[in-house]
């Protein structure tokens, strides 16, 4: 065997051995991932915000969110974190005839989440049931997701939350990014987001939460009926938060 043949055969043998070794590893990874996702597979949680029923000056959903998720509030807009907030839309000069409007803003739980795409450590990711959430153990605080989010829905914990209203849910240490996660911990127990429950308790019933994959759910019927809009659909982010009366 000359040198050329020796190298050829040798490299083929090494490549073959490497392939044979890596194949079982790869296949075991995928089967594990599939098994892990199976529990949440099939659902697609979404929210519909009926602005015609949302009351001006009411803060029930925001308060409930802070109470449930220990969202940091320092009373200083530089450090405050908002998972759900109200913004006032001022009509543009050209759009005469429109009135000022209060709009609830929150994480849009995109089906194509830009925040998860840019996360360098896969701390932000989309669960099989469509919920976008942050693994705070992994987050390195680079704030890429905040830049990527076109809805300004992501916030950074510049400081630790001084209060801890809900001891059963962890708070966040400083240096991690976060946003609404549809109260995934409550959904896993068969519940629904705290803001939705609070809105219903207040009597407004402006927040409707449900499974978009289930054609019989209230949210699916309302979306199918037409008139429900999503914010900046042209971005292609496929938000799962719909608005009525926007």
């Amino acid at each position: 065997m000359d040198r050329r043949n020796f190298l050829k055969r040798g490299s083929a043998a090494v490549a073959g051995a490497a392939g044979a070794l890596s194949l079982p590893v790869l296949s075991s990874c995928t089967s594990e991932a599939e098994a892990a996702g199976s529990r949440l597979e099939g659902k697609k949680w979404g929210m519909l915000i009926d602005l015609t029923r949302c009351r001006e000056g009411c803060t029930a959903c925001m308060d409930a969110c802070r109470e449930e998720n220990n969202v940091a509030y320092h009373g200083d807009r530089r450090w405050d974190v908002h998972w759900i907030r109200k913004a006032t839309l001022h009509p543009h000069e050209e759009s005469a005839g429109l009135e000022e409007k209060e709009v609830l803003l929150m994480c849009n739980q995109c089906d194509e989440p830009p925040c998860a795409m840019v996360c360098p450590v896969q701390a932000t990711y989309k669960r099989p049931d469509g919920i976008v959430l942050v693994d705070h153990h992994r987050c390195i605080g680079c704030r890429y997701c905040m830049l990527a989010c076109p809805y300004n829905a992501r916030f950074f914990n510049w400081k630790e939350n001084p209060e801890w209203p809900n001891k059963e849910y962890p708070r966040r240490s400083h240096g991690v990014a976060e946003s609404c996660h549809f109260c995934a911990h409550l959904i896993d127990k068969g519940g629904r987001p705290a803001c939705v429950a609070a809105c219903e308790r207040s009597g407004a019933g402006a927040l409707i939460f449900g499974d978009l994959n289930d054609p019989g759910s209230e949210i699916s019927r309302l979306v199918a009926a037409g008139g429900a809009k999503r914010v900046r659909e042209d971005f292609g982010t496929q938000p799962k938060v719909y608005y009525l009366g926007l």
Binding site: A36, L40, D129, E160, W164, P170, R172, S173, I187, D188
Partner: protein, 134 residues
């Protein structure tokens, strides 16, 4: 050359005995130590009698609790399920965090990040609770 007067043909056996005794002294010492040593101090807070229903045997938990917690962590976050182990569940039996978690980790120079975000009764809160109970 002058011959050694300390180690000679005659006293070689005596020297060998002395050498063996010195070598074996620590072994004998450690075997006999329990005879006069005091009872070892209880290092960790004894858990609730319910400890028998711990997730795994005591010996396993001692060395692998961090693996179980990490496994639970990723399962809860990624899949919404978990393996049944939660920090709150630990706290049901091991009430005193300072005596249970902190003391051992301090000794082993392991810094714990858990309690910045996850709630576990602090000793002062525990005192308050138990004070209120009596």
């Amino acid at each position: 050359m002058k011959r050694s007067t300390v180690l000679t043909e005659k006293n070689r056996g005596a020297w060998a005995t002395v050498f063996t005794v010195i070598i074996l002294l620590p072994v004998v010492f450690s075997i006999l130590k329990p005879l006069w040593a005091a009872e070892p101090e209880v290092f960790l807070d004894p858990p609730d009698p319910r400890w028998e229903s711990c997730f795994r045997p005591k010996e396993y938990m001692r060395f692998h609790h961090m693996d179980l917690l990490k496994e639970a962590r990723s399962q809860v976050i990624r899949d919404g399920s978990g393996n049944g182990i939660t920090l709150a569940g630990c706290g049901d039996c091991h009430r005193n965090r300072e005596a249970f978690c902190d003391r051992c980790h301090e000794k082993a120079s392991v810094s714990l990040d858990c309690f910045g975000c996850h709630y576990y009764l602090t000793p002062s809160e525990l005192e308050e609770l138990e004070g209120g109970g009596h």
